[in-house]
Symmetry: C2
Subunit: 181 residues, 2 copies
DNA sequence: TCTACCATGTAATCTGTTACATGATTGC
DNA sequence: GCAATCATGTAACAGATTACATGGTAGA
């Protein structure tokens, strides 16, 4: 999304690949920018005059071919306007596992438990990664650090819920073999 | 999404408007189906033979004009296949407030606090609604109830985080007037 | 040399969103 | 009678996803 790009260029001049990598690595749970999306977005931002190319590294210098982008004054103004807006929509969680979970009553319990265990494994790994990365945020980056803390809380809460769900479903299985709720 | 429609038709034969309403009301935080999306989806499901129209209420009978859909055997089979699949993607939270929050360091603190307070008001109201609706889920609908519990946990956790963020930012304001983190 | 990754880009397709249009019904 | 809501639908647009294509660089 274009405002994320404008936001990140406040911090540093970057090229497309790095912008995407940065967003994905640090805030991937809040949004994800697609590799096939970042270059068209950069192009349209240049066309609108909100960002500009400050340099193109061709192989005269060493390092790969890439374009370095910077934010313009118009870009900063547009970003400030956006930042002040009250968001019109509330939080939505997109998760292909949860859409299945709702309908687990129409499937078989063994398969449900298998999928739940897969999710637990994924989020336990993610939790380790997130705990390890929290101290990296300095006092300078107060807001990104708070977002990282939110990610950690979400991760912890979700894991607890998954484990409660697993216990409840496993218990249900032994009580009423074959039956589904 | 088509599998949500197939899932919900396991529970009951419904018409388009009710399908959307049901999804929106009970699981709106996990997905939202757009009003301009449900009818094309129903049409393509009929074309694929996964659902079928069981009746059209024209104004011979009382009540408004509407089409009642049911799931076919092919639809059940396709749904079962989907339900067994391991989801390829992990959870993503979409929230226009959080995308702004990350960049609050580049805006002014007064505005940030204003937006945070708006969010707190929204989610406090939502929390009351969710607490009130939890007991409605019977033992029969175990999985939807667990989803509702997840919604409640998420809501509670998010509110706590918003309030911690507010305190931290408000404190920061009085310590270092004009400065931003 | 070969693999993995860095880096940019396009095309086709699928979803999602907004806005509109129509008309019936229900309750005040 | 009027407003709100029920109900179905379309059109235009915006955003996301997948797949592909190209070529450079770094390190085993």
């Amino acid at each position: 999304m274009k405002y994320s790009v404008l936001g990140i260029l406040h911090y540093k001049d970057l090229h497309g690949y790095r912008i995407r990598e940065h967003l994905e690595r640090h805030f991937g749970f809040v949004w994800s920018i697609n590799p096939g999306q970042i270059y068209p977005v950069l192009k349209s931002l240049v066309d609108e005059g909100l960002i500009a190319i400050v340099g193109i590294n061709q192989n005269e210098n060493k390092g790969p071919y890439r374009k370095l982008y910077t934010i313009t004054e118009a870009g900063r103004a547009e970003f400030q306007r956006w930042l002040k807006e009250s968001p019109k929509k509330t939080m939505v969680v997109r998760d292909p596992f949860l859409t299945r979970f709702i309908f687990f009553g129409y499937g078989d319990i063994e398969n449900s438990l298998k999928l739940i265990n897969e999710q637990i494994a994924i989020y336990e790994e993610q939790l380790i990664y997130r705990k390890a990365n929290l101290p990296r945020w300095s006092k300078q980056s107060q807001y990104p650090r708070m977002i990282a803390e939110l990610g950690l809380s979400l991760n912890t809460m979700y894991l607890e819920w998954l484990k409660r769900a697993r216990e409840e479903i496993a218990g249900h299985k032994s009580e009423l073999p074959g039956a589904q709720g």
